[in-house]
Assembly symmetry: C2
Amino acid sequence: MTPPPAPSDAVAIELNAVLVALTANQPLVLTLEDGTLLPSGPFATEHPTLQSGLRAWVERQTHHPLGYVEQLYTFADRNRPGSDGRQRIVSISYLGLTRERLSAGARDPEWRSWYRYFPWEDWRTGPAPLIAETILPRLGPWVDAGGDAGNRRERQQRVEVSFGDGRETWNEDLVLQRYELLYEAGLVPEAKHPAADPVPGMPMRHDHRRILATGIARLRAKIKYRPVFFELMPPEFTLLQLQRAVEALAGRPMHKQNFRRLIDQQGLVEPTGASTTEARGRPAKLFRFRREVVLERAAAGSKLPLSRPI
Amino acid sequence: MTPPPAPSDAVAIELNAVLVALTANQPLVLTLEDGTLLPSGPFATEHPTLQSGLRAWVERQTHHPLGYVEQLYTFADRNRPGSDGRQRIVSISYLGLTRERLSAGARDPEWRSWYRYFPWEDWRTGPAPLIAETILPRLGPWVDAGGDAGNRRERQQRVEVSFGDGRETWNEDLVLQRYELLYEAGLVPEAKHPAADPVPGMPMRHDHRRILATGIARLRAKIKYRPVFFELMPPEFTLLQLQRAVEALAGRPMHKQNFRRLIDQQGLVEPTGASTTEARGRPAKLFRFRREVVLERAAAGSKLPLSRPI
DNA sequence: TAATTAATACTCTAACTGAGCATAATGAGG
DNA sequence: CCTCATTATGCTCAGTTAGAGTATTAATTA
């Protein structure tokens, strides 16, 4: 039952990276070739581990240290988009957070707002109009084409869970589910049987937009129980800047006073003593992160009715 | 920056599986060779996707369908324990939940309680005595051997976060952190420089105990926001049986009345109408899961102060 | 019949969440 | 100088949730 693994026919390891930065309240992702590709490359044989290979390669390209790295997913499907079917490519994707951007305005690599790829994910100024105006109407026919009643009902439920009603209910974490639903419905150009008229949102080559969706979803889920947005902020910042950063990632507006209360309660930041007058109104105190807390914060909230140990 | 990935020298893809079942309130994991290995094997070339390869292979071995499958992690480290350093092995591990066990008492493969490998993870009857009696005392010298004060302080903090004080504070999700801490401190036999006297808990070959820790951690985290324990239960069950199942996974006792309240509120189950008298006391109603709810439950709880969309 | 075991129904309190009001401190424009 | 727009910050409030405990019901076993 456990024969020694024999070398498969032709296998290549490829690394894909979703590299995220923040500027001017926009969540940015590093892209290549006119925004159609995520940075990716072969896994250099000389590196002892995957992460070290990724770090070395990214830092050589961007000249900036990679703050936080997390593995996303491994694909090895034979019929993976972009594979020619003969050689098997194992694609291992990573999420990386970095504080500084590459030289601004560079063309290749280029930082782009991830909302260019997923315009329906930006609810910072209210429900994305795209959903009620375009997406839901076009998903309707797909639901109706579901065959028997049970299947139609399931499709309808998937639409409701993923996109809500387009106005109120919205779960910002379901980035991947939404993209996959649109893919399945043929509403993105990458789909095998794309509709003549896809939904707005810039496509990418191969399955890179899918990988990007995975990275955004992971990051949105993560910030709720671990303050990784640390890695994206400058050394000093105001609380409003921090709030705008989190909003950019989550794609949702937040209640200002409650946001401050939460940050305060958790002891995540400490005042530097200085304040800034860059904005128009009352000067805001500057803060820095208390890195010590990150370790302590490993404890996540529980949703089960645990009782105190006997 | 994006050369076509060239085949690395010698690469083999290997699948590792953490297969979980539940019997008699014990969380079981499928093992091979006297419990020293997780089932693993080469990725068969004929399968179009990783998951289909895994499913086919597991179902051929256990003769039972695999309910829920989730990718865990991909390792490709050159100096991975068990690798001979020449050939690079890409090891992709999966978590799988299954309802039925293999023929009871079989020797190979064999189901074993995962607490044989991680005895300190079982807090169902209160704090695991092992921690205060053995683990914390042995981690003390490791903290002291940390070199400069800063490093010692960091080690101390890691110990506190991972193991708490051994009595009250305990986060059941940190299975992997705890194992890695013990590994680093040389307190498990698998470590590169193992102490003469390791902490109790059965070791495994290669990095399989590490993979198992990853699977347990993932499962414990998952049950808090998605009712995957569905996949481990028989078609009908009492609420106490369900509670014991969740407790077995989480490794912690739960408050009976509140557990029922939570299950009830979420609408996860419906009474079958029948009841059972297998236990001694008052007969309990039998329930079954409402599978429809699983889809709806995709919505997870948020911990950020979201405001209603404008 | 009494003791035991388990199921189930409520209650209570502290903490947390989403929301909003009020006030303070600044620059811009008249 | 005065007013207004703008941002920061302090505080309150109601509804919900989480952890804990009390009480009652319905069966089995000694």
